[in-house]
């Protein structure tokens, strides 16, 4: 188990953004990615989640183990919170959504249409989706956007419980979640050099 990256280079829109990314993540550990806007955090997370191929390098342990949460929540506005979560649980082969509802105190909102929720409530429902996947590695891109202080606390607790149960978490975030023993990786020094730009196009038809 665990996740290991060796000399991974990633590109966005044909332009390499990061190169030489190497780290390993053991069970029960969290890694926080830091770096300014546009430094390639999202691209790296999408590559690890398998949504795009890496330019070079190896990623081990990410196949069928990653639950990805990006900027969009993947929730349908015209379905209720419970219907959304039940759907995602079924896709991942699970049924029980109660722990997820409880962890994010979504009980009172379970029968509300997701489209009528506030941005923060919607975000909480989106994060609850990670719990129903049953996947060991959570890959989270700016998970705390539009969450208030209480909800950030709920989220930090959920991550801690997940780590305590042997899971892993990979977060790109700017705020301090109070995960005391989390590793921190600053991606700023890993920016790809201009000389690596040649022949890096990922256009499918060129």
């Amino acid at each position: 188990m665990g996740l290991r990256l060796t000399h991974v280079a990633v590109a966005r829109g044909g332009v390499p953004v990061l190169s030489g990314v190497s780290f390993s993540l053991a069970d029960g550990k969290a890694l926080i990615l830091r770096g300014p806007n546009g430094s390639g955090k999202t691209t790296l997370l999408r590559t690890i989640a398998g949504l795009q191929p890496a330019l070079s390098g190896h990623i081990e342990g990410a196949a069928d183990t990653v639950a990805y949460a990006g900027h969009a929540d993947g929730l349908k506005a015209m379905l209720t919170v419970a219907e959304n979560l039940t759907f995602w649980a079924a896709v991942y082969g699970h049924h029980d959504i109660e722990p997820a509802l409880k962890a994010y105190t979504l009980g009172p909102l379970r029968d509300r249409l997701t489209g009528t929720l506030s941005a923060g409530q919607k975000r909480r429902a989106g994060l609850a989706r990670l719990m129903v996947t049953g996947r060991p590695i959570w890959v989270l891109d700016e998970p705390t956007v539009s969450l208030d202080a209480d909800a950030v606390g709920l989220f930090a607790n959920a991550v801690r419980n997940h780590l305590g149960a042997g899971g892993m978490a990979l977060l790109a975030t700017h705020i301090d979640l109070g995960l005391s023993d989390a590793l921190v990786l600053d991606v700023t020094p890993l920016r790809a050099q201009a000389s690596e730009m040649h022949g890096a196009s990922d256009e499918a038809f060129l």
Binding site: R46, A49, G50, L51, Q52, P53, D64, V66, A67, Y68, A69, G70, H71, A72, D73, G74, L75, K76, A77, M78, L79, E83, T86, F87, W88, A90, V91, Y92, G93, R129, T133, D202, A204
Partner: protein, 218 residues
């Protein structure tokens, strides 16, 4: 897979889901044709199979825009691509959901609208059979077109241009089967070719659509 099908159907039937869009378009088109052609019942009955097939095809095309675009915008496709369900299966299910919400109502409505166009009595059975065999191909080809253009803002025009030539064989054989049925000729050949197109589309296009989608979401 069943969960995805149920979710797509539920979304289609909820407010703003787009169920009935294709059906309403089909209804409007077919109701207006007799007014524009004029009161010539012989002419109407000879063009009826072609008009009904063209209307069904355009109604299908109209609703393709929403097939994947909404899931792309709210991030559902990103999550589906990382889920244990293969993307090929997900797209086959989305094609099936599109057929149930768009193709099947067209098939069921066609005989009633055939009356308006003075379709000869012996043509009704073959019209329904040809639509039943042909509309799955329309949905699956449409899912492929939607997967190719989902990443493009306002990709509907491009999708229509890509999909229309692929629809032509289905239209030719479908309308031909319905026309032959209406005038009492043998319908085996166009129906078999139509069934072949549908089976081929359903078998192969989910893979093509999944490959196209993997490129567009990265």
């Amino acid at each position: 897979m069943i969960a995805l099908l149920i979710r797509d159907l539920r979304l289609a039937f909820r407010a703003g889901g787009g169920f009935g869009l294709g059906l309403a378009f089909f209804l409007i088109l077919v109701v207006l044709v007799p007014f524009s052609v004029g009161p010539q019942s012989a002419l109407l009955s000879s063009i009826a199979p072609g008009v009904l097939w063209l209307g069904a095809l355009l109604a299908c095309l109209l609703s393709l825009d929403r097939l994947l675009a909404l899931d792309f915008e709210d991030g559902t496709l990103d999550v589906l691509a990382t889920a244990p369900l293969p993307l090929e299966a997900a797209l086959a299910v989305k094609g099936l959901a599109h057929w149930i919400t768009t193709g099947l109502p067209l098939v069921l409505a066609a005989p009633f609208l055939g009356v308006l166009l003075n379709l000869p009595p012996e043509g009704f059975v073959w019209l329904v059979v040809s639509l039943l065999l042909g509309t799955p191909a329309l949905s699956m080809i449409g899912a492929f077109g939607a997967a190719l253009t989902v990443g493009i803002k306002r990709g509907g025009l491009l999708m229509s241009l890509l999909v229309l030539p692929l629809y032509v064989p289905t239209l030719i054989f479908g309308a031909e089967a319905a026309r032959r049925g209406a005038v009492g000729m043998a319908v085996d050949t166009p129906l078999l070719l139509l069934a072949g197109i549908s089976l081929g589309s359903v078998a192969l296009l989910p893979f093509a659509a999944a490959a196209a989608l993997r490129m567009t979401i990265r």
